[in-house]
C-alpha cells in the first residue's frame, strides 16, 4: 500500500486524454479508439486487456504515431508525454523520441528483426540514431545489452543473423533493442503471444526485471489475463475501442465489476476446478462499420443486458475509490441529466 501512495504522488509520465483514433473505410472515418483517457505513472506497469479487434494495438500505435499513413489518424484528444504533446509533433520531432524515450516491442519476433542485418547491427542502429557513440563502443554496448537480456555467448550472437535464432531469443534481442537507450516508457504489444508457454514465462520475468533495473514504465498490451495478473500494477479493460473498466490489478481480480470483465475471467482455464468445457463469450466484437452509435457497445453480447442498454450510453466513472467502470448496472455510469453520451468525467 505504501508503494501505491508513493506512486500516486508522482506526476504521470504519459497522459492520454479523450483520444479518438479513426480509420478510413471507403472514404469514411470510423473510430477504432473512442474517447479513451488514461495515464501511466513513472515505474508503473499498466496492462491493457481485451479481445482481438478491441483497439489495444491501435492505441499503442497512436502513442508512437505509427498509424498507417492515409488510413489511420488521430481525430482528437491529446497524448501528453513529459510535458510535450506527442499528437502535435511532426514526424521529424517524434523520431527523436521514438526508440529513445519511448520504445516498443512487437508481437511477432519472427518478422520484427530485419533478415539481412546481423543482430549487432540492429542493436547498434538505435544507438547511432540517438547517441554520439563510436563504432567500438556501440559494439561493446550491444554485447552488454545482449548479456543483460539473458543471452548466453553474446560475443557470438552479436554477429549472427535473425534466421539463426529461435523465437524466444529473437524476442530477447527485440527487448535489447528497445532498452538500448534506456527509454522511460516501453510499450509491449503482445510480447509473448507468439512464443510457447515456457518461453513466455521467461520473457515476462525478464521484462519485469528490466523494468525494475531501468526504472521505466511499461504499457503491456495483451489478451492474456494470466500475464496481467503476473505483471501489472494497473489494468485497463477495453472493449470495442472504449475503456470499460479501469482499476488496480488486485481489485480487478477480486472484484471485477463490468460483465465483460467477469466473462473474460470466466474464460481462463483453472486447475482447481473440474470444468470440462471452457466458457466463452458468444459473438464477436462488432466491426468498425457496424458499431452501435448509441448505447453500450457490449450490450448485444452481454448476459446482463437491460432494455435501456441499447439506448443510453454509459460513461466511465468511479464506483469505488480507484475503480472505474462503464456499465449501466452501476448508477455512477448513468449520464447526468442533459448529458447525452460520450462525456468523460474527471
Amino acid at each position: 500500500m505504501s508503494v501505491n501512495t508513493q506512486l500516486h504522488k508522482d506526476a504521470p509520465l504519459l497522459e492520454v486524454k479523450n483520444l479518438e483514433t479513426a480509420f478510413s473505410i471507403d472514404g469514411q472515418y470510423y473510430n477504432a479508439v473512442d474517447n479513451v483517457s488514461f495515464s501511466v505513472k513513472p515505474r508503473e506497469i499498466v496492462g491493457i486487456v481485451g479481445e482481438s479487434g478491441c483497439g489495444k494495438s491501435v492505441m499503442s500505435l497512436s502513442i508512437m504515431k505509427l498509424l498507417p499513413k492515409g488510413i489511420g489518424k488521430i481525430k482528437s484528444g491529446s497524448i501528453h508525454f513529459e510535458g510535450v504533446h506527442l499528437e502535435k509533433m511532426s514526424d521529424k520531432e517524434i523520431n527523436s523520441i521514438r526508440g529513445k524515450d519511448i520504445a516498443m516491442i512487437f508481437q511477432e519476433p519472427m518478422t520484427s528483426l530485419n533478415p539481412v542485418f546481423s543482430i549487432g547491427f540492429q542493436i547498434q542502429e538505435v544507438l547511432f540514431n540517438h547517441m554520439k557513440i563510436s563504432k567500438k563502443e556501440a559494439r561493446l554496448k550491444s554485447i552488454a545489452l545482449l548479456k543483460s537480456v539473458g543471452i548466453s555467448r553474446p560475443e557470438k550472437i552479436v554477429d549472427e543473423y535473425p534466421h539463426q535464432l529461435s523465437g524466444g531469443m529473437r524476442q530477447r534481442v527485440m527487448i535489447a533493442i528497445a532498452i538500448a537507450c534506456q527509454p522511460k516508457l516501453l510499450i509491449a504489444d503482445e510480447p509473448t503471444t507468439a512464443l510457447d508457454v515456457t518461453v513466455q514465462a521467461q520473457i515476462l520475468e525478464l521484462l519485469k526485471d528490466i523494468q525494475k533495473v531501468n526504472d521505466m514504465s511499461v504499457i503491456l498490451i495483451t489478451h492474456d489475463l494470466g500475464v496481467v495478473a503476473e505483471m501489472c500494477d494497473e489494468v485497463i479493460v477495453m472493449y470495442a475501442g472504449k475503456i470499460v473498466e479501469k482499476t488496480d490489478v488486485d481489485t480487478l481480480f477480486h472484484d471485477p465489476k463490468h460483465p465483460y470483465t467477469k466473462l473474460l475471467m470466466g474464460a481462463i482455464p483453472r486447475m482447481d476446478e473440474d470444468v470440462e468445457v471452457l466458457s466463452s463469450i458468444k459473438g464477436i466484437v462488432p466491426s468498425l462499420k457496424n458499431m452501435p452509435k448509441v448505447g453500450c457497445k457490449f450490450a448485444a453480447r452481454c448476459p446482463q443486458a437491460m432494455p435501456e442498454c441499447t439506448s443510453i450510453t454509459p460513461i466511465l466513472a468511479e464506483t469505488d475509490e480507484g475503480h472505474e467502470v462503464s456499465c449501466l448496472l452501476y448508477p455512477t455510469s448513468r449520464p447526468r441529466e442533459g448529458v447525452l453520451h460520450n462525456e468523460y468525467r474527471g
Binding site: 499513413k69 514526424d91 526508440g99 518478422t111 520484427s112 528483426l113 546481423s118 542502429e125 554477429d159
Partner: protein, 305 residues
C-alpha cells in the same frame, strides 16, 4: 569442458577458418557459385565483355572498322581476317569485338538507368502509398502507354544528331515502367513486415527506412530484374539497329552487322559475315538469362539447387 573446446577450436581455426556467421547475402552467393550453368555463363559473359573492352588493342582502332576497302570485299575467313570481311571489305572479327563494345555499353547503361529510375519510383510509391503512390503509378501507366518502337523512332528523328547517348536516353525513358511496378509491389509486400515498423519505432527517418531496411530486402528482386533487363536491352539495341533506327551506321554494333544479313546473297552464301555477331549475340543473351536464373535460385530460400 569449455576451455578445452575453445582451445581446440582455436587450434583448428588457425588452420581452417571457422565458418563465419552467414548473412543471407553470403548464403545466396555460395549457392550461386555452386550453380554450374550460371558459372559457365558468367565466365562466358566476362570473356565477351573483356574482349569487347579491349577491342582496340586486340584488333584495329574503331575508325578503321568503318573504312571501306574495295580490294578486300567479301573475303572468306583466313589468317589475315579471322572471320573474313564483309561486303565493304571491313574486317568482321574487329567489327564483332567493337560491336560488342557498343552493344554491351548500351545495354549496361540502359539497364543501370532503368533500374535506378524504376527502383526510386517503385520504392517511393510502394512505401508511402496514398496519393504519392497514386500520382507516381498513374505517371507510370502514362509512360507505359507509349508504343515502344514507334516512340523510339519518333524521338530519334526529333534528336537530329543521333548518337549512342541519344539512344540510351530514349530507351531508358521508355523502359523503366515495368521495374517500377515490380519494385512497388515487392516493397508493398515487404513493408508489412514488422521489422519496418520497428525500424520506424526506433527513430529511423523514412529515407533511412527505405534505403537501409527496405531496399536490401527487395534487392534480390531488383538484381534478377536487372539481369533480365540487360538481356532484353541487348535485343532491343540489336532490333532497332537491324531496322536502321538504332546506333548510327558508322559505329559498329551487333545489330548493325546483322543488318547485312538482310540481303539474300549474304544470308545464303556468305555465312561468315553474319554468323559471328549472331552467335556472340545469342550466346551473350543466353548466358545473361542463365545468370539471371542462377540469381533467382540463389535468392530463393526454398530452392535446393
Amino acid at each position: 569442458m569449455e576451455p578445452v573446446t575453445q582451445a581446440t577450436s582455436a587450434a583448428v581455426g588457425s588452420v581452417i577458418k571457422p565458418p563465419k556467421s552467414q548473412s543471407p547475402w553470403a548464403l545466396a552467393r555460395r549457392k550461386f557459385f555452386k550453380n554450374k550453368i550460371a558459372m559457365i555463363s558468367l565466365v562466358f559473359l566476362i570473356i565477351v565483355t573483356l574482349l569487347s573492352i579491349f577491342a582496340e588493342p586486340l584488333t584495329i582502332p574503331v575508325e578503321e572498322t568503318a573504312k571501306i576497302n574495295l580490294t578486300q570485299m567479301s573475303k572468306e575467313p583466313s589468317a589475315e581476317h579471322f572471320f573474313g570481311t564483309d561486303k565493304s571489305g571491313r574486317d568482321v572479327f574487329a567489327r564483332t569485338l567493337h560491336g560488342g563494345q557498343t552493344s554491351l555499353l548500351l545495354a549496361f547503361s540502359i539497364t543501370i538507368a532503368v533500374i535506378t529510375i524504376g527502383s526510386i519510383v517503385g520504392a517511393t510509391a510502394g512505401f508511402f502509398g496514398g496519393w504519392v503512390d497514386n500520382a507516381l503509378m498513374r505517371f507510370t501507366d502514362f509512360m507505359m502507354n507509349f508504343p515502344f518502337l514507334l516512340f523510339v523512332i519518333v524521338l530519334k528523328s526529333i534528336f537530329l544528331e543521333s548518337s549512342t547517348a541519344t539512344l540510351i536516353f530514349v530507351i531508358s525513358v521508355l523502359s523503366w515502367t515495368g521495374t517500377a511496378r515490380l519494385v512497388r509491389s515487392k516493397v508493398m509486400a515487404e513493408k508489412e513486415n514488422e521489422y519496418i515498423l520497428s525500424a520506424i519505432s526506433i527513430g529511423c527517418s523514412p529515407f533511412k527506412t527505405i534505403t537501409k531496411h527496405l531496399l536490401p530486402n527487395v534487392m534480390s528482386t531488383i538484381i534478377v530484374q536487372a539481369t533480365l533487363t540487360l538481356a532484353v536491352m541487348i535485343v532491343a539495341e540489336t532490333g532497332l539497329s537491324f531496322l536502321g533506327f538504332g546506333v548510327p551506321m558508322n559505329i559498329p554494333s551487333w545489330g548493325n552487322m546483322l543488318q547485312e544479313a538482310r540481303s539474300p546473297d549474304v544470308l545464303t552464301s556468305k555465312w561468315w559475315i553474319w554468323i559471328p555477331p549472331a552467335a556472340v549475340l545469342t550466346g551473350t543473351i543466353l548466358s545473361i538469362n542463365f545468370i539471371g536464373e542462377g540469381f533467382k535460385d540463389a535468392f530463393n530460400p526454398k530452392s535446393n539447387r
